[in-house]
């Protein structure tokens, strides 16, 4: 029983590790999409962030400089997206797709040019990474059964960026629902005419939204390569940006539900990794592929209107023309 408990805790622990980039990207997507800009380029920004963070960290030896540059790179891509979608009223899906493909190509191309390691960065040393934070009193509390292991596995010992991701959710919710910027942001995604006729610039609001999305994706990218992993490998975002987008939709474009969707999707991935090849009574071999596909299936079912109605922001995808 104790073993089961520990396994469970370890899975939960892994869930947070897996969910960290999802949460950050989902909050990023939330800002962009609530402002009316479809963001399938979460994936590309995440990948770019991961690459730049590792590259800068290994060159300068500073994880902090790495994350800073990751944010800059990701914001750069976000501005390209904004330039195409806001300034030139281009197709938002096409623009996002272009960014994803560009990120895919550029990261590997530059990595090969710089490091000649087949598209990877050299492995990062301990000082070039963000490492788990051990909270005080772990050893002391460890003496207490249950509480000790919960404290050790769940509360302490995560990465700084995981804590940032967890903090990003209430902060995003606060911005959305308690600030002037948030009110205007939500309005511009629903009825940009209302914002315009209230004398507020639609374009500038949307630019700020995509920039915030860039910042969050940059942090998430840095997490992949300099916290969870120790260096960049090609395609290391591996569809996480799309899962985050799925979480945004599954959370019906609201911060807390999207957060829980990220945890759910993270849990599915974490447990499928643990159950790989494991025989489960009655079911047989664990259907790990099904578990990995479940987020996508759930989104389709949701969009089909079978579990509640997911109403996207009313003005999403439409360029604003006066």
């Amino acid at each position: 029983m104790n073993d089961f408990m520990l396994q469970f805790l370890l899975t939960i622990d892994a869930t947070f590790r897996v969910a960290t980039p999802l949460i950050l990207c989902a909050m990023a997507g939330m800002f962009s999409e609530r402002s009316g800009i479809i963001d399938i380029s979460l994936e590309g920004k995440l990948l770019a962030g991961a690459f730049v963070a590792a590259t800068v960290a290994t060159t300068t030896g500073s994880a902090w400089l790495g994350i800073l540059c990751a944010i800059l790179a990701s914001v750069g891509f976000a501005l390209v997206h904004g330039f195409a979608c806001i300034t030139h009223r281009g197709n938002q899906v096409v623009s996002g797709l272009a960014i994803n493909i560009l990120a895919s190509g550029l990261t590997v191309t530059i990595a090969i040019a710089l490091f000649h390691q087949g598209g990877q960065t050299p492995p990062l040393g301990r000082s070039e990474r963000f490492t788990p934070l051990e909270w005080p009193l772990v050893e002391t509390l460890n003496q207490i059964p249950a509480v000790g292991s919960i404290y050790r596995e769940l509360i302490s010992g995560h990465n700084l960026i995981t804590y940032i991701a967890l903090l990003a959710v209430p902060v995003s919710a606060f911005i959305f629902y308690r600030t002037r910027f948030g009110l205007r942001l939500r309005a511009v995604g629903e009825l940009p005419q209302a914002v315009d006729s209230a004398g507020v610039s639609v374009a500038w609001l949307r630019y700020r939204a995509v920039i915030i999305a860039g910042i969050l994706c940059g942090i998430a990218g840095a997490y992949l390569s300099t916290a969870q992993g120790a260096g960049f490998v090609r395609e290391m975002s591996a569809g996480k940006g799309y899962i985050a987008l799925a979480a945004v939709i599954f959370g019906k474009w609201r911060p807390y539900p999207a957060f829980f969707a990220c945890l759910l999707f993270g849990f599915l991935e974490a447990s499928s990794a643990r159950l790989q090849g494991v025989e489960i009574p009655l079911i047989g071999e664990a259907p790990t592929q099904l578990m990995l596909a479940l987020p996508y299936i759930m989104v389709v079912v949701l969009l089909a209107g079978f579990i509640g109605k997911a109403n996207p922001p009313a003005a999403i995808g439409q360029p604003y023309v006066k």
Binding site: R178, T179, R180, F181, G182, L183, R184, R186, A187, E190, L191, Q193, A194, V195, D196, S197, A198, G199, V200, N311, A314, K322
Partner: protein, 522 residues
């Protein structure tokens, strides 16, 4: 609380709150406003009347900074100003209640009211002060709203009240209302007018755009009449009457008399009984529509645009299902449980010239020849083979273009490259060529030049003489008068009355269009 005057306590010297001088505005080739000059006194309610498309909304959008004028100048309190954006307009103390509400449906009332003027970065203090303002507005004007209700759950009247609160909160001293009563019930209209009077008493200057003459008479101090983008008259309300305004509004010179014989009517082809239709949010669009349409007659439907005519046509064409009542068309019974779709309606023998050729009648990117078989692309016009017979389509197009005198006579030209009149000829040629037994016609000459108008009118009369039953919907009164054998007047989704064309005068129909029963309007 008195309304905060946006301009502080500066004494104004000009008696006019707003002056417009020679304002012009074109969209492409369309001149929406031509040399408009207008002056509105301080603390007065000024009405602007005119038909749809006359240029009223464009003018007000210029005043509110949503469009910029091509030329001309604007003076506020006697001082020339530049209004480049709505932010400029708001800071000059101008507030606007748009025809299409600028309210975010899934926001609360409070959120909508705060939008754009929230106070600090954080909403907390702004919420408190807005709540105080709302209480003050309630005691001052009796404008009651529940700040925590979601806008999408509220009736239109309340939504409009929110728009007004949005506009006057924070110091608007000039308030523009664009067709504010179009969506209101009579009771809601009364309470709106009470609020407007209270605002006037506190020094707010109000511009009211409408096409309803009764409202102009009821509430305004002065009125300007706009037609084809020009001001055709300005009056003090106390010195005019609805008859004069109606004539000014629709009274363009009657350019044409259509030669036609008395109708020889035959059997009933369309019979409607107690038909009713509501919008998705429960507003009645059509109520208790009952009438017959017979072979060989033109039944004109008169009414100010937006009084249910569009919905009526779409119901007959099979494009919309209705909620209550029945109709019988060419012997087929149709009710809400047994709807018919546009293709089967067309096969039954119904033709439909839709009122908006860009939205419905044509695919603008299609070539003229393709548009001439639109809706008939499964008939022998496109040949009998597996593929569409291009030769047959082309020769059909050439015949139609010749017969209906479409210019340029080029079947390969996309429809978007034809003038409005020639686009309309394409639609009319297509629908008339099928020799329909019943023809629904909407605004057949909207945006069409005079030569084409005459041609289209003759075609309609010729079709009638061949025994077709024609329902003609038009907002052009002279068109209705010139063509119809009988005239049905609609107001707010109801039939006000049906007149024989011999008994119809422009004035009488005008009054009926305003909802006055036919006996009173005699």
């Amino acid at each position: 609380m008195a309304i905060k005057t946006g301009k502080g306590d500066v004494e104004t010297t000009s008696p006019f709150a707003i002056e417009l001088q020679n304002v012009c505005k074109s969209f492409g080739r369309v001149q929406a406003n031509r040399n408009i000059s207008l002056a509105v006194e301080n603390a007065a309610i000024h009405g602007i009347v005119g038909e749809n498309g006359a240029g009223k909304s464009t003018l007000m959008n210029i005043l509110f900074g949503l469009h910029s004028a091509d030329s001309g100048s604007i003076l506020i309190d006697g001082k020339p100003v530049e209004i480049r954006s709505s932010a400029d307009a708001i800071s000059l103390g101008i507030g606007m209640v748009h025809q299409h509400f600028m309210l975010v449906p899934n926001f609360t009332v409070l959120e909508n009211i705060m939008l754009g003027r929230e106070g600090d970065m954080l909403l907390k203090d702004g919420i408190a002060s807005t709540m105080r303002e709302l209480e003050e507005l309630e005691t001052e004007y009796g404008m009651q709203v529940n700040p925590h209700a979601k806008v999408e759950d509220l009736p239109v009247g309340t939504r409009q009240r929110i728009e007004i609160i949005k506009a006057i909160r924070g110091g608007a001293r000039i308030l523009i209302l664009d067709e504010p009563t179009g969506v209101l019930t009579p009771q809601e209209t009364d309470s709106l007018f009470a609020i407007l009077r209270a605002l006037r008493a506190r020094g707010v200057t109000i511009i009211l755009i409408t096409h309803k003459l009764a409202e102009i008479m009821a509430i305004t101090d002065s009125v300007s009449i706009i037609r084809d983008g020009k001001i055709v008259g300005s009056r003090e309300t106390s010195k005019t009457n609805s008859g004069e305004l109606a004539e000014l509004m629709v009274g363009r010179e009657v350019l044409l008399r259509v030669e036609k014989n008395a109708a020889s009517t035959g059997e009933t082809r369309l019979s409607v009984n107690g038909l009713g239709l509501s919008s998705n949010d429960g507003q009645p669009l059509l109520t208790e529509i009952t009438f017959d349409l017979r072979a060989g007659e033109i039944l004109g439907v008169a009414g100010v645009a937006g009084n249910g005519q569009s919905e009526l046509m779409e119901v007959f064409a099979g494009m919309r299902t209705f909620d209550t009542g029945q109709m019988e068309i060419l012997g087929d019974q149709i009710d809400s449980k047994h709807p018919k779709h546009p293709d089967s309606m067309r096969k039954t023998g119904l033709g439909h010239i839709p009122e908006d050729r860009h939205q419905h009648g044509l695919v603008l990117n299609f070539e003229a020849s393709e548009n001439l078989v639109f809706g008939f692309h499964h008939t022998e016009l496109t040949g009998n083979g597996l593929l569409m017979d291009q030769k047959s389509i082309r020769s059909h197009a050439e015949t139609m273009i010749e017969r209906f005198d479409v210019r340029p006579a080029n079947p390969d030209l996309p429809a978007k490259n034809f003038s409005g009149g020639n686009q309309q000829k394409l639609v009319i040629a297509r629908e008339m060529n099928a020799e329909p037994k019943v023809l629904i016609v909407g605004q057949p000459t909207r945006g069409v030049d005079i030569g084409a108008i005459e041609f289209i009118h003759k075609q309609l009369v010729a079709l009638r003489d061949k025994g077709c039953a024609i329902l003609l919907v038009s907002v052009e009164l002279d068109e209705i008068l010139a063509l119809s054998d009988r005239i049905m007047v609609m107001n707010e989704g109801r039939i006000v009355g049906v007149l024989d064309s011999a008994d119809a005068t422009e004035r009488r129909i005008g009054l009926m269009m305003a909802g006055i029963a036919k006996e009173e309007a005699a």
